[in-house]
């Protein structure tokens, strides 16, 4: 049972995540992916409805039910078997983020930048507002995210998803190695 309380190693977490691909196929012949759920919620709630948001999102109830589970899972895990501060973070990463002016690692996100009270600060605005906008815009433009392209798409051996995965990492590398030092 101790394993529930300690953070899980990659060789436990990775295979569980990968098993979502066959599970969704077996349960309902569905292609697993998470970013489409952002589109469904936007289609359901947005006051403006351009063509991209005018479709029958209720046909994809399965993915919204999956999201209900994801939220519940986050709640249950954090409430009943919480992790401590991030374990064994590389000392080099600790140094690198300290040089950018972030505090010593604590919690899941650096609260000195990512919290409600920081929304109107330079860092908070960049990391929450600009970052969030880019995630939403980019996943729609690329028609998928880490789950739908990198995991489902590569599991299906589809080269289009390899293109997307390479672009995701290129964007992340550009951001961490160029944008963070320039902007922060």
């Amino acid at each position: 049972m101790n394993e529930l309380y300690n953070p899980w190693p990659w060789y436990i977490a990775g295979p569980i995540i990968g098993s979502m691909v066959p599970l969704m196929l077996l349960i309902g012949n569905r292609r697993w992916g998470m970013s489409a759920t952002l589109r469904h919620v936007a289609a359901a709630c947005s006051p403006i409805k351009p063509p991209h948001l005018r479709y029958d999102w209720k046909k994809d109830t399965w993915s919204l039910l999956f999201v209900v589970g994801v939220v519940l899972g986050g709640f249950v895990a954090a409430r009943f078997f919480p992790n401590g501060d991030v374990s064994n973070l590389s000392p080099r990463t600790v140094d690198a983020i300290a040089q950018l002016g972030f505090n010593a690692p604590h919690g899941l996100v650096p609260a000195e930048a990512v919290s409600l009270s920081q929304v109107a600060t330079y860092r908070g605005f960049l990391m929450m507002v600009v970052g969030g906008l880019l995630v939403g815009f980019g996943t729609r433009y690329a028609n998928g995210c880490t789950s739908g392209h990198a995991i489902s798409g590569l599991s299906f051996l589809q080269w289009q998803s390899l293109v997307a995965t390479i672009a995701f990492f290129a964007g992340g590398l550009l951001c961490v190695h160029v944008l963070y030092p320039v902007l922060f």
């Binding site: 953070p7 990775g14 899941l108 929450m128 969030g132 880019l134 980019g138």
Partner: protein, 135 residues
């Protein structure tokens, strides 16, 4: 019954993203700096598990009267590159892709609720300019 299974699978995924520290902004920083194998181990074993399962299920497909699975294709378009780069930058800024954004709702990371809301606004913005973007 199927509906319950979707919820249960979602829960397993949500718990795993939390317990594997995949929703940690710090882990994403570590990954993009190549300072640890953790995230690469997660992503590579996830793909390997998915690919192996799909390969086995494809064989079941060929049997007559067997189950049918649709390996839906996402067509090529230039957005894979451009949108992919944009998403990658957002991923590194926020430390979260769409799955983790939902997990943060359950965990109760208030700052990430702002991020999630802005991601939804990003979807609407994309929808407004979609017809003008290179495809």
């Amino acid at each position: 019954m199927k509906n319950l299974l979707y919820i249960l699978c979602g829960m397993l995924f949500g718990v795993t993203l939390y317990k594997g520290e995949i929703i940690s902004w710090y882990r994403i920083q570590e990954m993009f700096r190549f300072h640890s194998f953790h995230m690469f181990g997660v992503i590579m074993t996830a793909i390997a598990t998915g690919a192996l399962s799909v390969a086995i299920m494809k064989r079941a497909l060929n049997k007559e009267g067997g189950p049918t699975y649709t390996l839906a294709k996402k067509p090529y378009q230039h957005g894979l590159w451009i949108g992919g780069l944009i998403f990658g930058i957002g991923w590194a800024l926020t430390g979260a892709c769409p799955g983790p954004l939902w997990v943060h709702v359950g965990v109760g990371t208030l700052g990430m609720l702002v991020t999630l809301f802005c991601a939804l606004v990003g979807v609407v913005l994309y929808s407004m300019v979609e017809s003008k973007l290179p495809r």
